[in-house]
Amino acid sequence: MNSLSSYLFVAAALFSLGLLGVLQRRNLIGMLISIELMLNGANINFMAFNRFLAPEPAVGQIVTLFVMGIAAAEAAIGLSIILALFRQLRSINIERAQELKG
């Protein structure tokens, strides 16, 4: 069943697993990994609609490339923030990053 809905199923599964990871992990690197999974789910959606429905097959690929660029920027910023947080707290468990908690 190599059709649109099977791709959309895979994308939904990837996105939901990423969502579960973001909600449940307490390790910041684990959360970053889950965010990458979610971005990939969105990318598969773009590529599948591009392949099966869209009028111009180039547009979805361009959007996917842009999402990859954003993901690279996000990973760089996220890792540097994790580094800075580690220097402050000696840990990357988010339960310890509670200085602003009311």
Partner: protein, 177 residues
């Protein structure tokens, strides 16, 4: 026939497709569930490689190569560098808060079910006039004409992100040590 045409729907057997899907989902599960962060990164590599395979099935070899280069080659390596900040692996893992885990699983399962309902209830209809133009030349042409502004903005975003990453990592060292 273009290079991507080898992987078109007509010629592709069903077995390899579902194998790639299984690899992707297995990688995603490994990336989310184990407590050992090294396993998580290897699962992420597996999942992203599987997604690159799915892009091959979707006819676009260029995006598959970009996926391997950017995600597997750059982002995963950057995450591997950050592993050393994680909790030492020989220490005992702190216990999970079962109520929180159950709530997270319920929320994401709800999202998954809603998503699947939308996917299978909608009658998707293809655009009547579709061009069959999958070539890299077209992608490059559109990127430098219609999507030129987005292209420039994304280069600016990447530049700002790199400078910001250097400043964030560098200044915090100066402040604390």
């Amino acid at each position: 026939m273009t290079l991507g045409g080898i992987f078109s729907v007509e010629t592709a057997a069903q077995g390899p497709f579902w194998m790639v899907v299984g690899l992707t989902l297995a990688g995603a599960v490994i990336a989310v569930f184990p407590r050992n962060i090294v396993y998580n990164v290897f699962g992420l590599v597996l999942a992203l490689t599987g997604v690159a395979g799915l892009y091959l099935f979707l006819n676009s070899i260029f995006v598959a190569m970009m996926q391997l280069l950017i995600y597997v080659g750059a982002i995963c390596i950057a995450i591997v560098f950050a592993i050393m900040l994680s909790r030492p692996l020989h220490l005992e893992a702190p216990k999970r808060n079962m109520a929180k885990v159950a709530a997270a699983a319920g929320a994401s399962f709800l999202f998954f079910a809603a998503n699947l309902a939308v996917v299978f209830k909608t009658g998707w209809q293809a655009e009547a006039q579709r061009s069959g133009d999958w070539t890299v030349a077209t992608i490059g042409h559109m990127m430098l004409t219609r999507y030129n502004l987005v292209f420039e903005v994304i280069s600016l975003v990447l530049l700002v992100a790199i400078i910001g990453a250097i400043l964030t990592a560098g200044y915090s060292r100066r402040l604390t040590s």
